[in-house]
Point group: C2
Chain length 317, copies 2
């Protein structure tokens, strides 16, 4: 993990300069050191972007447009216009501002553990970039992945209330998350019912995803089960991207197996067969859905369960 810098009292410009420095330095290095420097640069740039976004949006409610940022440089995978958290959690600019102002950005390498099974969650995490899993290891060593998170998702909205995490939360790829201490979140929730509502909604949405996966595990054969997972991932990842494009795919086949409750070799065979039908193209880097219509049909995938009806988002408050 990264050494902590004293960055909290520096201007965005200073932070960007620091980032630039690391990038320059990294070109002359190689291997592990190089990637470390690059990831440090990324985190600094994320800090800078965050600061810029904070300054450009006043805490009083009005939807201030975010100063346009070079997208390639932003480690956050969502349109910056919606703030660093994106529209995923359905927060108002005001609420997002309140959340972000008490949040701390953190960078994790591939495979790092954010929260271990059985621990008390001290922080609430929101994923800005990368991909994260929640998994459980049984006594005999078998592993089941219970949730897969993408940028914009909250990682443990339910655990906050339950007081203990029953799964291990770790990254698939290098990731940037915003972390809020539970105690600070608590006082925020008391002040802002709409944030409370948003977290409840996030909990319900993730339960809905789990439910759909449960149905697959219980009653679908391997092929439609895999197809459904791919549809879900593609849909969630593409919500904020152009349609039809290749999708950066963050899981290995072995990890897919742990999501689907299958063995890695069987996943491989199923992937090949699905490739053979021409419906999809999948390899380590990217997923391309060649015939969305038919794939949805084959997988019995209906994206409705991934959406909230807008009128229900802010009921009551």
């Amino acid at each position: 993990m990264l050494s902590r810098l004293s960055i909290h009292n520096r201007s965005p410009e200073e932070l960007q300069a620091l980032a630039q420095e690391r990038r320059k330095l990294s070109t002359s290095k190689a291997g592990r050191l190089k990637t470390l420097l690059l990831s440090e640069a990324k985190l600094l740039e994320f800090h800078a972007d965050l600061r810029i976004w904070m300054d450009s949006t006043t805490p009083i409610r009005h939807s201030a447009p975010l100063k346009q940022i070079d997208k390639a440089a932003v480690p956050c995978d969502r349109p910056p216009a919606a703030g660093p958290l994106g529209p995923g959690m359905a927060l108002s600019v005001d609420d997002e501002h309140a959340l972000v102002s008490v949040a701390q950005p953190k960078y994790f390498e591939r495979g790092d553990i954010l929260l271990a099974e059985g621990e008390r969650p001290d922080n609430f995490y929101m994923l800005c970039s990368g991909a994260v899993r929640a998994s459980r290891t049984l006594e005999d060593g078998r592993l089941q992945i219970v949730s897969v998170f993408f940028p914009g998702d909250g990682l443990n909205p339910g655990d906050i209330l339950l007081g203990r995490s029953r799964t291990t939360i770790s990254t698939f790829t290098p990731s940037v998350v915003l972390s809020i201490s539970v105690s600070q979140l608590r006082s925020l929730l008391a002040q802002r019912p709409s944030i409370s509502r948003a977290l409840w909604r996030e909990t319900a949405l993730q339960a809905s995803i789990q439910q759909e996966r449960l149905i697959g595990l219980g009653r679908k054969a391997a092929e439609p089960r895999l197809a459904h997972a791919l549809c879900e991932f593609a849909y969630r990842l593409q919500r904020y991207a152009r349609d039809g494009d290749a999708i950066e795919f963050p899981l290995t086949q072995a990890e897919l197996a742990d999501v689907l409750g299958l063995s890695p070799v069987h996943v491989n065979r199923v992937v090949q067969h699905l490739r053979g039908t021409g419906l999809i193209d999948l390899n380590r880097e990217r997923l391309i859905i060649r015939n969305k219509q038919m794939l949805y049909k084959f997988a019995e995938f209906d994206p409705e369960y991934l959406e909230t009806e807008p009128e229900f988002q802010f009921v009551g408050t």
Copy 2:
């Protein structure tokens, strides 16, 4: 379903008298008519108990003890002291009073559908007595049960926010349910953040249960999977009963199969083998856990995920 009576402006005594009347009448009848009369009596008694509870607890906060009621006559399976909803949803007397006062009790026969897949949920349901499932039917007719509800559970806390039910909610056994229209619930939520918090918690708790079942479906063999489900059911049902007793078991083996993602005949064989080991005794009426220690170990069951840490229940508000 039952014909509606005009009961809302009758006293508890009148209601009990009416119930007594049906019971008397029922003894001279047989078959379907008899059970209908009995269920009508039950609903009337439930109404009466509700009224008594409402009268004995003032809307101003103080934990008024409920007048002792003959437990056998109360269709609600939880200690009346905690109100008709019991401690399941972790409501204060005050909140429970607010909820119950706008709720309508309803009685459903075995197999009745409360909410069909794809419908917009107009009501929020709380189960007082009986057992209820949420299930999904695939195109080829296969069925997967996603949740099993027992008295004290909310049936659709998440759907309220998502605006559409993705599963069919129906009963295993005759059941009494308290129903609140979503619009009334909405205004309650705006007034009482603690109710909002309780529903969020209920959503998280049910997600936690689903998560545990998902792990079983993905990575456990049939036997520990069944054992785990039985542990869970027993634990949830016994929270408000004496330990070691026989438990009234509401599912058939075929229904168990739909919970576990197995075929009915395989469930049968597994049940027999589990009986053979002496760990449990299970038939249509009752479940007896003979060796809790060993069963928990075999199933890798740890009831922690069914509990909320008390200090987290009312944070912030």
